[in-house]
């Protein structure tokens, strides 16, 4: 009986020997891999270790390892921080508008583009609707401020309808959620159609021909052929949308926020930025960031479980 584990040990050590021999013989490959491994350790894993700051009290003179542990104290402070909760409220409000529209609109737009048979028109629509995706938030922010200004595009347009005013909408805190959400929709909706269009291109055209023969209307064809064909992408996007509820756009907020709209514009990311880098409270800001990421992961897993149930136990992730 004793001989079996001994034999296994021998084979393990000899297997390790061949492993190392292989490793050495691949030294060229391994040396190409090395920079990547070093990069990941330095730029990804060390910051992940830095998350321990959330459970410490850190001052600028400390090192991350040397700072004193303070348990859950930072998280207790979060509970009573009304500015944090305001930022959470704004984040969820803006995300809810944004994610709902950005979930439904690309599906509709993709179906409409797919149904166009006039090829040059199709290409023009695609080229133009993808374009805003490539503009940075700084550029779009600058444009928005111009459009929203007292004599900007929006007021000119409303003037044509006879309801123009001389309000500068960027200074109106009550309009901020919609401005932030709809400007994101404007930027991303076209780009959001790409995956759908690619999937639709894979649907067997004979389905449509057969449906047409049987006298199915266009809408009926969309409902019974196109939508089922893209259902896996729809559920994938649904999961990503739900888990993005606490996600906020720092670039957008930094460029659009001003002293007038700040109470409605401050989101979680910009709060972390302000508390951490402007006020220097590194541990507290790390705790806020960590807490929100954990909630996002929980949402992602929960959404995946729900769609899995709806999708005959097939995970789309």
């Amino acid at each position: 009986m004793n001989s079996i584990p001994a034999g296994r040990k021998r084979s393990v050590s000899s297997r390790m020997k061949t492993w190392f021999a292989d490793f050495r013989s691949q030294w060229q490959m391994q040396s190409m891999m090395l920079p990547g491994v070093i990069f990941m350790i330095v730029f990804n894993f060390i910051p992940i270790y830095g998350l321990t700051l959330a459970f410490k009290s850190y001052s600028v003179t400390d090192t991350i390892a040397g700072a004193k542990w303070n348990g859950w104290q930072n998280f207790q402070t979060i509970m009573n921080d009304k500015y944090f909760w305001q930022a959470v409220w704004n984040t969820v409000g803006i995300s809810a508008i944004k994610l709902t529209i950005e979930f439904f609109l690309p599906i509709a737009l993709a179906i409409m583009i797919y149904e166009v048979n006039w090829l040059p028109f199709k290409k023009i629509v695609q080229t133009i609707t993808y374009l805003p995706h490539f503009l940075s938030w700084i550029i779009l922010g600058g444009m928005l401020i111009n459009w929203m200004s007292s004599n900007g595009l929006i007021n000119q347009f409303l003037g044509l309808l006879g309801i123009g005013s001389h309000a500068n909408y960027m200074l109106d805190a009550n309009k901020y959620w919609n401005i932030a959400a709809w400007s994101d929709v404007w930027k991303e909706v076209g780009w959001g159609t790409i995956l759908y269009l690619a999937t639709m291109a894979g649907i067997d055209p004979t389905y449509y021909e057969a449906a047409e023969m049987d006298g199915a209307s266009k809408l009926r064809q969309i409902w019974s052929i196109t939508l089922p064909g893209i259902s896996s992408i729809i559920s994938l996007n649904l999961i990503l949308s739900v888990s993005g509820l606490f996600g906020s756009n720092l670039d957008q907020t930094l460029v659009l926020m001003n002293s007038q709209n700040q109470p409605r514009a401050e989101v979680i990311n910009s709060y972390v930025y302000r508390v951490g880098l402007t006020q220097g409270d590194f541990s507290y800001a790390t705790a806020v960031g960590l807490g929100v990421s954990v909630i996002s992961v929980i949402l992602l897993v929960a959404a995946n479980m729900v769609t899995k149930k709806l999708n005959d136990n097939q995970s789309v992730l």
Binding site: M32, P47, K122, L131, W137, I139, G142, M213, L290
Partner: protein, 310 residues
């Protein structure tokens, strides 16, 4: 070699084949409504953009009067003259070009170097390396720990902060790795028989055959580098290292601050600064607008490459 996903591009590809069924009245109505809605949709994107383009050429009186959507009462190049006279703009433009150029080349090469060994199934330790890579895709230390790292590496206020932290992306490595796998083994083997090293095979066979994939990675990274403003905002306070995006941000924020104070004296400053803002916006998007029509195909097929893996 072409991108294997290029044929799946959503451009083109009419699905109607063979038998043409007689168009019913319902179908005709559907097509007309469809095209009308899509046209409106396209206008919602184009008209505001055109408004910005033409506003940047409006004279300061025309700007302060407003009162136009498509064409101002008076055109002028004053905004551009004011912007071009500013040496800070030229410097920012240079920094943007430099960070994009250096960043794209180093990022693409670095990712390709790492992707090549990972594309070989016989690589020892491959499982560990790819697990590490996948962890980097889903977990990060976030803003503050990363800031402290950059600070302790002494990269605050250096040009290298634009280049080194963005050298590597496991997402791009996966795309390249999948592409490298399509290179026929026989090509590599015959080179090996002729005495070529792995380095040599990578440099002389793999890289030249992978131009479409490398171009896709380079384009996406290029747009990101050109548009990136967060790196500057977080790690750079020295104005001499500001790229265009950060400069534009400063102009916008100053103008916003002026408009929130609401003082009469500020209104005049506001109008001039609005012209400067518009001209700077135009200069900042110009490279993207010029390149966009030519490279759009790569962007679309690149998205597919990433999506196939997911």
């Amino acid at each position: 070699m072409e991108l294997n996903t290029a044929q799946k591009s959503p451009f083109g590809g009419k699905r109607k084949t063979g038998t043409k069924v007689r168009e019913t009245k319902g179908t005709r109505v559907f097509n007309v409504v469809n095209i009308v809605i899509l046209t409106l949709f396209t206008l919602i994107i184009v008209v505001p953009l055109w408004n910005i383009v033409i506003s940047s050429f409006a004279s300061s009186t025309a700007l302060s009067n407003g009162n136009f959507i498509f064409w101002p009462q008076q055109l002028s190049l004053d905004n551009y003259r004011a912007v071009f006279r500013d040496p800070g703009l030229w410097r920012a433009f240079f920094i943007s070009v430099a960070k994009t150029g250096v960043g794209v080349i180093t990022h693409t090469l670095f990712c390709a170097i790492v992707a090549y060994p990972l594309s070989k199934r016989r690589l020892r330790g491959r499982k560990l390396y790819s697990t590490m890579g996948i962890i980097t895709m889903f977990f990060s230390g976030g803003m503050i720990p990363t800031y402290l790292l950059i600070k302790s590496l002494g990269m605050l206020n250096t040009f290298w902060v634009y280049i080194i932290p963005s050298l590597f992306s496991y997402y791009d490595v996966i795309i390249l790795m999948n592409f490298f796998r399509q290179v026929p083994d026989s090509l590599e083997e015959s080179a090996k028989i002729d005495g070529a090293s792995d380095f040599r095979v990578f440099w002389s066979i793999i890289l030249p055959l992978s131009k479409p994939a490398l171009a896709t990675i380079a384009l996406f990274n290029g747009v990101w580098q050109w548009n990136d403003f967060m790196t500057t905002k977080l790690y750079v306070t020295n104005e001499g290292l500001y790229p265009l995006q950060m400069r534009l941000y400063d102009i916008i924020v100053q103008a916003q601050a002026a408009s929130t104070t609401g003082l009469k004296a500020q209104v005049a400053i506001n109008t001039t600064s609005r012209g400067v803002q518009l001209a700077t916006i135009m200069i900042t998007i110009l490279p993207i607008l010029i390149l966009y029509p030519f490279v759009q195909r790569y962007f679309v097929s690149g998205t597919m490459l990433g999506a196939v893996k997911e």
